[in-house]
Amino acid sequence: MAFRRFTDTIKANGGDEKAYAQAVVTETNELFGCTVTELYEGTGGKTNRRDTLPHEVQQAYTVNESLSAYELERMEGTIGGENQREVNNKINAVVREQSKQTRKWLPW
């Protein structure tokens, strides 16, 4: 499952639970230009269950999380920082950059 691999690579790079939250907020903003809450409300999905989101939305998340995980795997051992926030922010910057790239391929 792409999301598990995504969260595993965040952890492997030193990210904590907040890094996951931050990554989800960031990829949702970048891919769909909205918040998670707005995405569920706007598409009529059952709140907080991604398999009820439109198929193309699920696919966008899957592709983005797979590619982000790949990038994070490549970077393992290179991300550091003076505190947890710095580490998380560096991980988030990778996710943001990948999400911007993924966004270019999406039809909306």
Partner: protein
């Protein structure tokens, strides 16, 4: 709720940093913080900023807001967000954070959805075990006067019924 000694008590400067970090995530758009001047305004609503309690209240409120705002998968609340291990920096505030989350009208429904997901027969067993700390949180709440919690007996029954199904 007596088991609060396992983690070290956070000092005020560190607490302030954590509050600001969470607020920044909530107010970030396209890599920039929107209206950073609003942080001070928002903090004033929590009371006198010279007191630690004010910052604790802000932290718990913002952490709950982030838990809600980042909840793409409800089961992640159980296996990550609210799986408070004693070594986590937010462990000492776990009950207040969870109480703040429960203020959301949809909170109970989201938790219920998460429970359904992690007890589904196809859910990864190792991933499910990560929710142990969430169930410990519920156990601590059971019997607390005035606590809004979930009966762990309910979740055990729930798990049993899903397994049997």
């Amino acid at each position: 709720m007596s088991n609060t000694t396992a983690s070290s008590v956070m000092k005020l400067p560190e607490l302030k940093e954590k509050v600001r970090y969470t607020w920044d995530i909530l107010n970030e758009w396209d890599g920039a913080i929107l209206q950073p001047e609003n942080f001070a305004k928002e903090m004033k609503t929590f009371g006198d900023r010279r007191y630690k309690k004010t910052w604790v209240n802000a932290l718990c409120k913002f952490e709950a807001m982030l838990a809600y705002a980042s909840c793409l998968d409800s089961w992640m609340l159980l296996t990550s967000t609210f799986a408070f291990r004693p070594e986590r920096w937010d462990y000492e505030y776990r009950h207040q954070i969870f109480n703040e989350f429960l203020m959301y009208p949809k909170a109970v429904e989201i938790i219920k959805t998460g429970l359904e997901d992690i007890f589904h027969k196809d859910f990864d067993v190792q991933e499910r075990e990560k929710a142990d700390e969430f169930f410990r949180l519920l156990e601590e709440r059971e019997g607390s006067a005035g606590a809004i919690g979930f009966s762990t007996r309910f979740t055990e029954q729930f798990a049993g019924s899903r397994t049997a199904a």
